[in-house]
Amino acid sequence: MQPMPNFPPPDESMKSREPGDDDGGLSAGTEQSDLELVRRAQRNERGAFDLLVLKYQHKVVKLVARLLRDPTEAEDVAQEAFVKAYRALGSFRGDSAFYTWLYRIAVNTARNTIASRQRRPLDYEAELSESEQNNVAARLKHDDTPEASALSEEIRVTVNEAIEQLPEDLRTAIVLREVEGLSYEEIAEAMDCPVGTVRSRIFRAREAIDRALQPLLD
């Protein structure tokens, strides 16, 4: 008997969207590390869950802000998603990456929020596929508060300037890590230096940018 064909996913909004699509942050090492943090959180090490929140807070807030009509609610909804994730930690098995799982929780929390507001449950797909498909347009469409936009812009400018100021080896190391998503091993090979050096360079790059950001974030 012929194997049956697979049904292709219909459109971008419903495809199981890989969160890595718009970032290079995920790598095999990150997955393992996240999994270890999840295990610890499952054993009630709250600090481990805190770390996961700190790591993914901006991603989730950004994602949710894209999906909601009103981006000022993004933090509340993102918070709800993290709490849901915490409550459901017991059932996370590690079949997928933690962020993939968290991503889906965040998307559905946002959807439920929209659905409950609008009271037209079956319209949510029309809303979301539009904004999910068209990030740029969505960002432009959603007027964020002037403060939020200004801060976000300032942060971008500050980070870029700080990066420009870095010595080349530090700059290369952090760009390869954060933008290209390479592992320390891969960066070590690319830069022809030991892994320990890579780790140290990335750390020092972050420290420098952190110093530049501190006045903005206090």
Partner: protein
């Protein structure tokens, strides 16, 4: 020394910290707000480099999540009855098994707002027209339901009762017709049987 710890944080963010170093670091983080803040900033740097613009979480976001989790583990937020729809008129002292208001009682977090009432309140969907225009459904006489006789109360179900209902659902699902079986099982997965409960006043029983 602190540098060493912060370097560990940096490695952890990249997933490059050996597992056996994690335990100590996690414990340090539980105690040190500055370290937590640093980790958050490192994450922000990466985000900004990869996808600049758009919203970011405020500095106290993680702390607020922590507080929300603490709250969820303890006393439930004020009555879910406040959500969705005007049908609910909470009444005190019902004589229902677990009397009316959930306010202030320790209840399980998984109580969800009443799906029924939300549906009753929701407008018909314009996008999906289910039946052919031009045909009207036969309207048979409904069981009269005098509004005054029915007071809807959110009762928090005794766990044994909800479990009974859940196992009845499972038993029932085995005998559903193929057309609806999928729906029944997914409802069991999604909803929490017995949570979306309304108690009718005794006067409504025939």
């Amino acid at each position: 020394m602190t540098d060493q710890i912060r370097e560990q944080l940096s490695a952890l963010l990249d997933g490059e910290l050996p597992k056996d170093e994690m335990g100590l670091l996690v414990r340090r983080l539980e105690k040190d707000a500055t370290l937590r803040r640093t980790f958050g900033t490192y994450a922000l740097i990466g985000e900004t480099l990869r996808a600049p613009g758009g919203r970011i979480a405020r500095t106290d976001f993680a702390a607020r999540v922590g507080a929300a989790i603490d709250a969820a583990e303890g006393i439930a937020p004020a009555a879910q009855a406040a959500v969705a729809g005007s049908d609910i008129r909470p009444q005190a002292g019902q004589g229902a098994p677990a009397s009316g208001a959930t306010r202030g009682r320790r209840v399980a977090f998984w109580q969800r707002p009443m799906v029924r009432t939300a549906l009753a309140a929701s407008a018909a969907v314009v996008a999906v027209v289910l039946f052919r225009p031009g045909t009207t459904p036969v309207v048979a006489e409904l069981e009269p339901q005098p509004a005054s006789a029915v007071a809807l109360v959110n009762s928090s179900p005794a766990p044994a009762q909800s479990q009974r209902l859940a196992s009845y659902m499972v038993a029932h699902s085995q005998y559903s017709t193929p057309l609806v079986r999928r729906n029944v099982l997914t409802s069991l997965l999604a909803a929490d049987p017995g949570i979306t409960r309304v108690s009718y006043e005794m006067g409504d029983a025939p």
